[in-house]
Symmetry: C2
Subunit: 114 residues, 2 copies
DNA sequence: TGCCATTTCTTCAATAATAGTGAATATATG
DNA sequence: CATATATTCACTATTATTGAAGAAATGGCA
């Protein structure tokens, strides 16, 4: 069996999106948030699948809210990042930050070139 | 078929390790470099597998050097990050940087807590 | 009132791609 | 030939992606 591994890129981004959204972190806005940050479309199914896996690993927890009084206002499943999830994000950030420090070809790039 | 996706966490780290190593970037030191940065052991096979995939995707290129005059000095396969590989690293870094900006619970963490 | 179309959100099933492992293989030198 | 360095291989596990189906709610209209 494959042993414990890194946080996947997608997992990392989802965790960060949840932190950004705070109390409004359920599947749909998480997906929208990612699309905004990444500039590409994200399949909702992949977000839910990843959330499911991360809940099993203890990186996020979820709770189902009440239905809202609006058309299609089905109860939402809200997600939070657990302490362990936060720790993993922090560690990943540390490693990446160290890795791209001292690499001018990376860090001096300011965005898509003209 | 799954469409084009993000750079995986592992792929990203390998690309960064290659950039750090410059002219000495072949399988073994790449793996060692990762172990140093990540603080965990890395299976050599997984590094080669990832390098292989990335070469197919055009993110790295490789060339086989000459044997070196030392015991077991088998010819090495050196890797370089291509222009496209570099661009992907840069874009990934941009997205991640934006995502963890404004999150004090992430950015104000200075390392493994005492 | 009682349906049903519509909306919002979640789950599912199936496939592709990536990660990880241990053993095997290839080539050097001493 | 034993040993050292490096790469490749075969196989399994985990993660990513997609498209469609399922659940639950409201709004409007006969």
């Amino acid at each position: 069996m494959a042993k414990r591994t890194f946080l996947g890129e997608f997992e990392l981004m989802i965790l960060l999106a949840i932190l950004h959204l705070g109390d409004e972190a359920y599947g749909v806005p998480v997906s929208r948030e990612l699309e905004n940050y990444c500039g590409r479309s994200i399949a909702l199914g992949s977000v839910y699948a990843s959330l499911e896996r991360m809940e099993n690993k203890g990186l996020v927890s979820s709770s189902v809210g009440d239905p809202t009084p609006e058309r299609g206002g089905k109860a939402k499943r809200y997600f939070r990042v657990t302490g362990e999830g936060l720790r993993e994000v922090q560690e990943t950030r540390q490693v990446l930050t160290r890795l791209w420090q001292g690499l001018p070809q990376i860090t001096e790039w300011k965005g898509r070139q003209a």
